[in-house]
């Protein structure tokens, strides 16, 4: 199947938002999606964007059953390791089910790695749900290491009320 991978534009945000929701359904957390294409447009295409995005497109004659030609995306941002330096974090990688098995996911992943390399990033990081065996296998096959298993790293979060409480206890300037 022919496909291209290109940088997303502001106009792609509606499609990206659609696919974000599809990915959340796959991850069994569809009620967790709180942002829409408007936030994506604001946060990804401003002066200092919070993220960058790539989209995978197929030609019109291969469009999806519902008529979409944008069939996959990768959303990522730059991070920093105080041990190794510049890194890139892959927040989302998604290909619509009917387009899987054609190398599109790999194409998107490799493009993110290439973009990161140009910025001298030495790591590509992401997180995967423990039950998601096909995805874990996909990344393991590409040389990804599971740091939770091998080194014991756990991801911790403050949000909602716990985040507000923390803020209220911040020292005054």
């Amino acid at each position: 199947m022919r496909f291209t991978v290109r940088a997303a534009t502001k106009d792609d945000c509606k499609e990206i938002s659609r696919m974000i929701k599809e990915l959340a359904v796959y991850e069994k957390m569809s009620d967790q999606v709180k942002i829409s294409h408007e936030e994506l447009e604001r946060d990804g295409f401003c002066q200092n964007p919070f993220f960058e995005c790539l989209v995978a497109e197929v030609p019109e004659e291969q469009k999806s059953t519902e008529g979409f030609t944008v069939v996959g995306y990768a959303l990522y941002f730059y991070t920093y390791s105080t041990w190794k330096g510049r890194a890139v974090y892959l927040e989302d990688l998604y290909v619509m089910p009917e387009f899987r098995g054609n190398g599109i996911g790999t194409g998107l992943l490799c493009k993110v790695a290439e973009v990161g390399k140009k910025k001298q990033c030495v790591r590509l990081q992401l997180s995967v749900l423990d039950w998601n065996t096909p995805t874990r296998d996909f990344y393991a096959a590409k040389g990804g290491q599971d740091l939770t298993v091998t080194e014991g790293w756990h991801a911790i979060r403050f949000d909602g009320q716990s985040l507000d409480s923390l803020v209220h206890e911040a020292p005054t300037d």
Binding site: I20, A24, M29, Q32, V33, K34, I35, E39, D43, N48, F50, L75, F77, T79, Y80, S81, T82, W83, K84, G85, Y89, E91, D92, A113, E114, G116, K117, V122, L124, Q125, S127, V128, L129, D130, W131, R136, Y139, K142, G143, G144, Q145, D146, L147, T148, V149, E151, G152, W153, H154, A155, I156, F158, D159, Q161, L163, S165, L166, V167, A170, P171
Partner: protein
């Protein structure tokens, strides 16, 4: 209670940040993994599009450390993004020199990161902790966070070195 202040890091702080990064790595039993230099920190944190931001905890000269340091803690963070909830903040490092612990400095640094994040419109503060690091886990959980690895099953994955080079082939 010891007097201390917290302020944004500037480029002159990079020498002390590099020192404390190595101290923290030693505490985490991974000191041989630190490849970054003071110069990397200067370039990556204080250019037009910085890769990170830092805050420093300082004490007055009369409270300086046994080795003569007044910069005795730091937090290093950057902005991230959740495709579900939008803007977020990631705390890469939080560290207070051992002799200054127990004075609320770590808590103050973390709260400051949370405050800066909220001011920038962030809805989450995320970071990672090693599973054996009980004192750090206890510290964080006492302030109301939750473990998304044990509760939701998220595993942290990484590609680097040769595997990353292979991926990056055009």
């Amino acid at each position: 209670m010891m007097d201390f202040s917290i302020r944004p890091a500037n480029v002159e702080d990079c020498k002390d940040i590099a020192r404390m990064i190595r101290d923290l790595a030693e505490y985490e039993e991974m000191s041989d993994l630190v490849k970054i230099t003071q110069r990397d920190l200067e370039q990556d944190g204080f250019s037009k599009n910085p890769f990170y931001h830092g805050i420093i905890a300082e004490v007055s000269d009369q409270h300086r450390s046994q080795d003569g340091h007044t910069k005795i803690g730091y937090a290093l963070y950057f902005y991230s993004y959740s495709s579900w909830i939008g803007r977020a903040i990631y705390m890469e490092d939080l560290y207070v020199m051992q002799e200054f612990r127990g004075n609320g400095i770590g808590k103050a640094l973390m709260s400051k990161v949370a405050q800066l994040g909220l001011a920038a419109g962030c809805n989450q503060l995320n970071f990672t902790v090693l599973d054996w690091n009980k004192s750090s886990m206890d510290f964080y959980f006492s302030h109301g966070c939750f473990n998304i690895t044990t509760k939701l099953g998220y595993h942290c994955m990484r590609c680097e070195g040769e595997a990353l080079e292979n991926l990056a082939q055009p």
